[in-house]
């Protein structure tokens, strides 16, 4: 039922009129979700800046507030007090709405994420389908930003960004399909309930593909071509200043918060854990995923755009299909072997298959993308 459902029933029992007993829990849920999102965004920004510093043997920002906690607020105040410049020949509605759409698509996914067994806004029985549909809205936001700026460089960068996002959604969806085969239902709460063993152990290859794909969708290094300052221009948000730029920035971290929440729900068994309260486990796992993202950003150089595309289409997609095929075979035979009671043989079998697929795939599937062109 969920916490909000209980709240609604309590209001009806205390004879509140019908429309109010619908609106008040909804508003409460929205406000709490937004506060949660903003709190986690600030935590993630802090973790990224201090974590990046520690990986580079320096402390990170530690002057604004005790241990640098207020650094995000200082940056926010600086950005908000800047002048909002709109290009003269830009398409005004499109230019205005692009950062709103980008932040919006991060907020909307929050509606289905369960933090505890009852703590969610709604339990759609098509939860994962809803999540992947809304996350494709991010591509529209980027294209709106690039088109509405009336600047040929930002249009080129936006088109590259849209190509990157679209081509990485396919392996991600196929990796999710592997999870769905095992759990048997699309609802988020059901997926967490059906994880006796976290799915990261049962689907190592699927997790790897999901991780790389989500990293590319979030524009995180090593695929952060949009914010590459060693290229010529800065990408699709070149014409934005002031609060709109802050919305893009918040939107990027918001997507990161939501993506790590989804990853925790699907692969790391959500709120399950021994000693601490379940909500704490959820937050701990989200923070762990964020730290792994920061770790990868600190280490790797950037991929070039044609190598990025060939990685998605020629390497991740065949591997995701092979993973789906192997999972389907195992699910078909689970009645004979007894999947739910004793999944551990499948863990080792899947790990071995993952290693074999990666070895075979790196030898056969990949070719260098691009090269010197004859002029």
């Amino acid at each position: 039922m969920g916490i909000l459902g209980h709240f609604q029933k309590w209001l009806v029992e205390h004879s509140v009129p019908d429309w109010a007993s619908y609106v008040v829990p909804a508003l409460t849920g929205i406000i709490i979700a937004l506060l949660f999102l903003f709190l986690m965004i600030i935590v993630f920004i802090y973790l990224e800046r201090r974590g990046l510093g520690r990986f580079q043997i320096r402390p990170g920002p530690n002057r604004a507030g005790p241990w640098g906690v207020l650094q995000a607020f200082a940056d926010f105040i600086k950005i908000v007090t800047k002048e909002d410049i709109v290009p003269y020949a830009a398409d005004k509605p499109v230019h205005f709405l692009a950062p709103v759409v980008s932040f919006f698509s991060a907020i909307m996914i929050l509606a289905v994420i369960p933090i505890q067994k009852d703590a969610y806004i709604t339990n759609l029985n098509i939860g994962i389908l809803y999540v992947s549909a809304i996350s494709s809205l991010g591509a529209i936001a980027i294209f709106m930003a690039g088109y509405g700026s009336n600047n040929k460089y930002s249009l080129i960068a936006a088109m590259r960004g849209v190509a990157q996002l679209i081509s990485y959604e396919v392996p991600v969806l196929l990796a999710i399909a592997g999870v769905l085969l095992i759990s048997g239902s699309l609802g988020m709460v059901d997926i967490v309930e059906s994880q006796n063993v976290p799915f990261i152990l049962l689907q190592p290859l699927g997790f790897l593909i999901f991780f790389i794909g989500v990293g590319a969708e979030l524009n995180r290094s090593p695929s952060d071509l949009m914010e590459a300052e060693s290229e010529l221009v800065t990408g699709y948000h070149i014409e934005y200043s002031g609060m709109k730029f802050a919305l893009f920035y918040l939107g990027e971290y918001g997507h990161m918060v939501v993506a790590s929440a989804v990853m925790t729900t699907i692969y790391l068994s959500g709120w399950k854990g021994p000693i601490l309260p379940p909500a704490m486990w959820f937050l701990v796992k989200m923070v762990l995923v964020c730290l792994v993202f920061v770790w990868i950003r600190a280490t790797f150089p950037r991929i070039r755009v044609d190598q990025l595309m060939s990685l998605a289409w020629k390497f991740l997609l065949p591997l995701a299909l092979l993973n789906l095929f192997a999972t389907a075979l195992e699910v078909m035979w689970q009645d004979k072997i007894g999947w739910e009671q004793f999944p551990w043989p499948f863990v080792f079998l899947n790990l071995g298959l993952a290693i074999v697929f990666i070895l075979v795939g790196s030898k056969l599937l990949f070719k260098t993308g691009g090269g010197q062109v004859e002029v």
């Binding site: 990986f55 580079q56 320096r58 770790w295 790797f300 190598q307 990666i358 790196s362 990949f366």
Partner: protein, 159 residues
């Protein structure tokens, strides 16, 4: 792009970064902690001993840019130095003037936090150049002064 090493090269890089994350940061929190500069430090000022100076202006002649301005006045048999000005805004702290002085009247200073708000405050006159407790001479080209100064913090010995 080919995965020649099957992704192991990526994993090795991750291990190196993780090892570094567990080390102590090597930043010095200035201005609370300051490293001790070397004994032969060439700071952005000079220290001038008026009793040893004879006004020969060898230092002014050996400066590559002509930053030192000396005006002397005859007083009986001796020359008295009336004006000894150093333009530290143009000085590049090369130390040639200190090496050139034949009467050991000129030393390099140890100061490096010498930012000022006005350009005319950067020009040091005769009174500013004399030694004082805040303005100690450094041991550049004078080993006997260098031995009395504290030792430099070397990052090689820091763990």
């Amino acid at each position: 792009m080919k995965f020649e090493h099957y992704g192991l090269g990526l994993a090795k890089g991750l291990v190196v970064t993780l090892k570094h994350a567990l080390r102590r940061p090597m930043t010095t929190q200035y201005p609370e902690e300051k490293l001790v500069v070397s004994r032969r430090f060439r700071g952005y000022e000079l220290v001038w001993y008026e009793d040893k100076c004879t006004g020969c202006a060898t230092c002014a002649k050996s400066c590559p840019q002509g930053n030192i301005e000396i005006v002397t006045v005859q007083q009986g048999d001796l020359y008295k130095v009336q004006k000894f000005e150093l333009d530290t805004g143009r000085c590049m702290a090369c130390g040639l003037c200190v090496e050139a002085c034949p009467y050991q009247a000129l030393y390099m200073g140890m100061g490096y936090e010498r930012a000022r708000y006005r350009r005319r405050e950067v020009v040091l006159t005769k009174e500013d150049l004399k030694p004082s407790p805040e303005r100690q001479p450094s041991g550049y080209a004078y080993p006997e002064v260098a031995e009395k100064l504290p030792e430099q913090t070397l990052l090689v010995y820091r763990k």
